[in-house]
Symmetry: C2
DNA sequence: CCCGAATACTGATCTGGATCAAACAAACTT
DNA sequence: AAGTTTGTTTGATCCAGATCAGTATTCGGG
């Protein structure tokens, strides 16, 4: 159980010039990171409790299921997936984490991490102890609300994916969700990279990998998307929204 | 959109002796309500922001999807279901709420209630503005943590139900979940009433009502449960756990 | 550059649970 | 109590997507 967070405490980063990184206020995440809407003083306090990581390589874990819950992490660059291992030893993908998103809040109630979280790409994170986040939240209404908001959003997302959806609906929702999240990050909402494998997508959406392949091929034939390996281009967003039966995204 | 909360503000309860009710510290919920782990002073402060409702009859709504998010509610007695209406006009059950459980936290991120929430039984609730809850949470670490904990728990629950489960697994998990929640409330964990219809159970578990009937009948034949109308007796919890493939519950 | 191992795609079957159809039982109406 | 409505159960079919089988493509390592 060798986790990056444990092996390489970032408390030391300011003492190690080679690891020095930009302050949150200059971070490429801009307003997307945790301290969104904080005023200047709050941002300075916030930065003091944030630890920036060295690069994390694809395949490296930052949390393991069962780990004591001490820290949460936000993604600066790259992509992570979280997954559980079920009774049959099968991997079950629970979610993907793009830049600006926070990881680990589902561990609060049990005091242990529920999921394994692994980098899909060369990535970087910021980590903070949950204790310091929640204690700061008590004097920063905006931060407290941001935490509530993120957990509430995750609940809504799960209520959607838990619904009774066809394979087409699931794939359309998945593509639109990624598009929206990349757009929020400042990337194109038309063209993006699937950092995760077909197998991961299938597991996340509760489909067979074969079904993912087939639906993507069908969408391409119908001119809705162009898919080449991991590259995706959204060609007909409106029709994807129709299929997903949602006006959201 | 006539909601009980709006029609009958409980701010007035202390002025209306007919509606006076016991203080939280004497409430039948005991330690299960929101102020769990609060000390005496905090409990007194807490009680000042809680509004107790008159009885709510089966079929009455306490929230409607789209309502502005101002208040949350905790169940004192009875049972509620929350549901959404999908694009086809079909009702989709999102969850059931038993005594001691809190309703409405999934509305935070959008500022509007996502779900319709309706009483299944004659019920009673306590309601509080989210603003007063979160502002109090800032001076009560235990309360803030309790809120985080509850949202985190809901995330875990949804991660389970969103999983790729067979009909048998879903029903077994459902029965065990109810059993655990009734037990926590001080009721029997062997024998309880299903306040919700077969149709509601089916919608919640993403099954057809016919499948719910058939699985319950099969479980009864195998001696796992006795089901008579809305009355349920758990006969073989271990085998139910096996079917649910979980050591939890 | 080639080779072996993943990963992705495509076609042929199979199946769990949905859907359709009907009988049945309980809960209201009058 | 008889009739009406609503909810539940049982039986017969059907289908979306899983599974199985085989091929094609990509990628990492020498």
């Amino acid at each position: 159980m060798n986790n990056v967070l444990q092996m390489n405490s970032l408390r030391d980063s300011h003492r190690d010039p080679a690891r020095a990184q930009v302050a949150c206020s200059q971070c490429s995440l801009g307003e997307l990171c945790l301290p969104k809407n904080l005023d200047k003083d709050d941002k300075i306090r916030f930065e003091q409790i944030v630890h920036r990581s060295r690069p994390i390589h694809a395949g490296e874990h930052i949390f393991r299921a069962g780990d004591e819950f001490r820290t949460v992490a936000t993604v600066r660059t790259g992509c992570f997936k979280s997954y559980a291992i079920d009774q049959d030893g099968q991997e079950q993908v629970l979610g993907f984490h793009l830049p600006g998103e926070i990881i680990g809040l589902d561990a609060i109630h049990s005091g242990r991490h529920i999921a394994n979280v692994v980098a899909l790409d060369t990535s970087a994170i910021c980590s903070l102890t949950f204790h310091s986040v929640s204690s700061m939240a008590r004097s920063m209404p905006e931060l407290q609300h941001e935490l509530f908001r993120m957990m509430s959003q995750r609940i809504s997302e799960l209520e959607t994916i838990a619904g009774d959806l066809s394979a087409d609906e699931r794939i359309a929702l998945f593509l639109l969700s990624l598009s929206r999240r990349f757009a929020r990050r400042g990337y194109s909402n038309k063209e993006f990279i699937l950092a995760m494998s077909r197998r991961d997508i299938a597991s996340y959406l509760r489909l067979a990998t074969e079904t993912v392949s087939r639906v993507l091929a069908r969408f391409q034939q119908r001119g809705l998307v162009e898919v080449d390996r991991k590259q995706v281009v959204i060609c007909d967003r409106d029709e994807l929204r129709n299929i997903a039966r949602t006006t959201l995204h």
